[in-house]
Subunit: 460 residues, 2 copies
């Protein structure tokens, strides 16, 4: 939890910690734009009816009421009240439908915004946090190659965040069609039920899941065993995936001519394409992992979860999938595929586990000293001259003793202190880290590159 989070679940950073978060956001935005995604920002507020549509998380909504309505909130049904969005997918669906005449399809968008979850205060989870999402939404249809490309964009974004101390990320991909085809081939019908139980594997283990499959989803012991065998399957090439999947189907009597197999084969082809293309562009970044189920039931094709090496306790830090039916307008569908990074948790990891830190608190590279208040105007003029050339500059708060002014610069991590020339002498500038002092011209002096900008480092 963030230091100084005075309200449980609402993280807040110190200025030097915020530099890490801000630069992480800048980095994600840069990668998303480099890949041709358009940035949007949606309002924080949605109608209750939109928020309630999407099963699982609906329990965790914050509803709003105007102070002047206190006491009469319940005159309005929840569906007609306003609530804070709990993710960026529901707002995207609404946005796309509302603006379908104004955006170009397929619509590739990035969005980095806060979301809110009305969790119980004692759970110790974030109730306000930043999500960073990319999605591609088609008008009517959406080519499956986006199911290959989107996780790869996220891989390159997470790769860029390694500069902030994140370990290597691996995307684990599966495909709902593959799972569904296999389960149907076994003779199981409650597909959503089976997926829901399989999703619990990491939490409760194979034995418990097996029991639940039998008690909750009407599976026989043999069917439950087969489901668990599928979940154990993983592969890093399409060829390996296909070979193992076929063997498993053969073992359980699922014929390749069956409708069930045909459905599975669709998912298999997409999943094979994902791992093979990923292996070409970034070897080792994406694996097929057939236990990935994802809780939410709106996914219809690929599903993804992402884990960091050596940070299993964080769980999946970037998840998503393909959804064909989330956004609709009459008969028209807007199928999409997208992934979402839970950024606040990552920033917390960067700060508290990886030791990420800003090289300095202040963006200023220079503090101009002030000999006395009468000469503050001259100090301001020097600051203006430096700023006009893009050099971030602060001016000493008071005309205190020089030692005190230098201490102020030191506390903020400002590397240079500028001494205005007096009585005909020229200006001088001192690097208070190296101790070097030199004559300097306010119209041409440049800070050393290493001291010119606020940057983020990690480690101790």
């Amino acid at each position: 939890m963030a230091k100084g989070a005075s309200l449980s679940g609402f993280p807040e950073w110190l200025p030097e910690e915020r530099v890490v978060e801000q630069q992480a956001i800048d980095t994600l935005r840069r990668i998303f734009e480099l890949n041709g995604f358009l940035g949007i920002e949606t309002r924080a507020v949605e109608q209750g009816s939109s928020l309630l549509k999407k099963g699982e998380t609906s329990k965790e909504i914050y509803l709003l009421s105007r102070l002047q309505e206190v006491g009469q909130e319940n005159d309005t049904p929840v569906e007609d009240r306003l609530g804070l969005h709990f993710d960026l997918t529901v707002p995207l669906s609404r946005y796309v439908v509302e603006h379908s005449g104004d955006v170009a399809f397929p619509f590739k968008r990035w969005q980095i915004q806060k979301v809110w979850r009305g969790e119980r205060p004692q759970e110790g989870r974030f109730r306000e946090f930043i999500q960073a999402d990319i999605d591609v939404v088609g008008n009517g249809d959406l080519p499956s190659h986006y199911e290959v490309e989107l996780p790869l964009v996220m891989v390159s974004a997470l790769e860029a965040l390694r500069a902030f101390g994140l370990p290597k990320a691996t995307v684990h991909a599966n495909n709902r069609k593959l799972s569904e085809g296999f389960y149907r081939g076994l003779g199981l019908d409650d597909i959503e039920g089976v997926l829901r139980e399989i999703d619990k594997l990491d939490k409760i283990g194979a034995d418990e899941v097996s029991k639940l499959l039998i008690s909750e989803c009407g599976a026989t012991e043999a069917q439950a065993k087969a489901c668990l065998e599928l979940a154990e399957l993983s592969a890093s090439t399409g060829e390996e995936l296909e070979r193992e999947f076929r063997a498993l189907c053969a073992k359980h009597g699922i014929e390749e001519s069956s409708d069930a197999y045909a459905l599975a084969a669709e998912g298999l082809a997409t999943l094979a394409m994902i791992v093979d293309e990923a292996a070409r562009i970034r070897p080792g970044s994406v694996v097929a992992d057939l236990k990935i189920a994802r809780g939410l039931d709106y996914y219809t094709g690929s599903v993804y979860e992402t884990f960091l090496d050596g940070a299993a306790s964080l769980g999946s830090i970037c998840s998503g999938g393909r959804y064909d039916n989330l956004a609709t307008q009459g008969k028209k569908k807007y199928p999409g595929v997208g992934l979402s990074i839970g950024l606040s948790r990552l920033v917390s990891y960067m700060l508290h586990t990886a030791g990420a830190h800003a090289n300095r608190q202040s963006p200023a590279a220079v503090l101009v000293a002030v000999w006395n208040e009468e000469e503050r105007g001259e100090a301001n003029r020097i600051a203006e001259a430096l700023r006009s050339r893009g050099i971030a500059t602060d001016v000493a708060p008071t005309a205190a003793k020089l030692g005190k002014q230098i201490k102020y610069a030191d506390k903020l991590g400002i590397p240079y202190v500028w001494f205005p020339g007096r009585e005909g002498a020229g200006d001088e500038v001192k690097n208070i880290i190296t101790g070097d002092q030199e004559a300097a011209d306010r119209t041409s002096w440049q800070p050393d590159t290493v001291y010119s900008r606020q940057t983020v480092e990690y480690g101790d």
Copy 2:
């Protein structure tokens, strides 16, 4: 109001409009950091008790309730409930007190975030909007030169926003001590009452204000007239301000030896310093305007409002002042001075009045064409090569006819279409705006500067 704002008061922009807002935010951040301000972000949520502290706007708060608490909201007193912040000053006060041991004072911070006001839906005002604030907060005391510098930082920020079509901005400054000293010198005691009525001048005119001063604040006709004369006073140099103010005091029998005059003189000195220093650095950017009163009663020194040439209907677009008593911790005070830009209204002006627009919808400079789906991998490789050199690149969504692919680029405003070489021929790239086509090497080609980045222009 924003096009497509499907919920009244909650503006939402199209992707190409969002580019304008995003670059305006980037510009403000750049100027704030250039001036040595530290960026922070506070949680969107504050305790009801904090939100209710600050008089005037307290009517307009959105309170939160967890969905699971619906029906029991009123078991909790409003003070103990959570609400969305309605400005960035209340959160700053809390933040400074909470982290007083961790930040360097004077604490100079910028903050650009959404705020919410629970206005009546029918009022047609923004209920969610972005504010951009700078403040300096001292520990115990705060030198008055910050009352000079902060409006000048905002002037340079607003100057930078002229690239987005904003007209020239002028800060109108006054000082509460000057007004209070003058009113007390006249024999008036209800200082807050007089300020509140004077603040209505632009809305209801001098005659009505005069009546209110008499009926509400116990003023005689002569006192009311004197208050209005003070409000008429404006000056662009300290010398002019001082001369006119002295003449007015003499006229109304306020002696320079009185306590009331001494109080006014303090405010006069700061205000004179503001206009004179502003005139040196940016002539014409700041004027003394003694009718500026500001509704909020927590200001204790300088107060500012900012108007755009020829956009009087917007009202003040950047306001603030000095507050000595907002943040306290036991006996300790954290006096501050700050200004706040209502950014969403400015963006609305840029878009709908000034004609600000992005040069293109997509951040991508290049769209790589796809001859057929089998060759998509090669197109991806080209895109990767360009991105690795910082060139934002998209890949055609389908292997449609070339004309259709070019049309997709055109719709997104992507200036270049890249044709992968086939059968031993090299790659070519076409600028679809100029029609120029040339051989191109994916490892060295650069777009023309004018087409390399998403930029904002204004006018028709």
